[in-house]
Symmetry: C2
Subunit: 100 residues, 2 copies
DNA sequence: GGAAGTCTTAGCTATATGGCGAAATATTTC
DNA sequence: GAAATATTTCGCCATATAGCTAAGACTTCC
């Protein structure tokens, strides 16, 4: 059986993948790859209610993928680790091999 | 609001991330990166019952990440898209920026 | 300071996911 | 062909996730 150290490491890594495992969150990340956006912008983009979007953003923030910056009444989110976007190329190649 | 095409694309991508969003499955993928393994090997590795492991493997197979090869009474799984392993480096850098 | 705008938190419900044991299926061995 | 081995599928329960509305907190505008 695997040792505890690697189990803990994979548990932490799984958290990051879990944060990426939602279409709406990927859509928001794609948008954030072109610059910071406020919550209202992202809510309009994905077409969900603001509380829902706020929750999604907190998931991404807790995973260390985005960061927030409150300016006035608005909160702007931005991508912390742009390498996340590089995943998509590989994911596309995975998808081409997926069975329906 | 986002167009339907990109929504569909992100939905498919999210499926791949969802398949990666489990510590046990990451552990198995790490093992498979060193060569093909039968289900019983992987079950011993993660320390779960075989039905559980078999289910995890079918998730990975449906996502296009692994493929199976039945030889005799055993079924061997192997990594189809090794680029998946490259994710881990980036994920590590994400984790270092995550808030606890 | 009250109204309007922006965002988050809380409470609720519905659905998805993960684990197990039991049962079904396929293969080898005797 | 019966017993043993390897794997998958099924049925069950417990927990996690996602969406909503309502309510709370903060900022700006008048």
């Amino acid at each position: 059986m695997a040792n505890q150290l690697s189990v803990a490491r994979f548990k932490a890594q799984a958290q990051v993948f879990k944060a990426l495992a939602h279409p709406g969150r990927l859509l928001m990340l794609d948008e954030l790859s072109r610059g910071e956006r406020c919550v209202c912008d992202l809510a309009a983009l994905v077409g969900s209610e603001m509380p829902t979007v706020s929750r999604h953003l907190s998931v991404l923030r807790n995973a260390g993928i985005v960061d927030d910056d409150k300016r006035g009444a608005q909160v702007f989110y931005r991508l912390v680790t742009p390498c996340v976007m590089d995943f998509f190329r590989c994911v596309s190649s995975v998808r081409r091999k997926a069975r329906p």
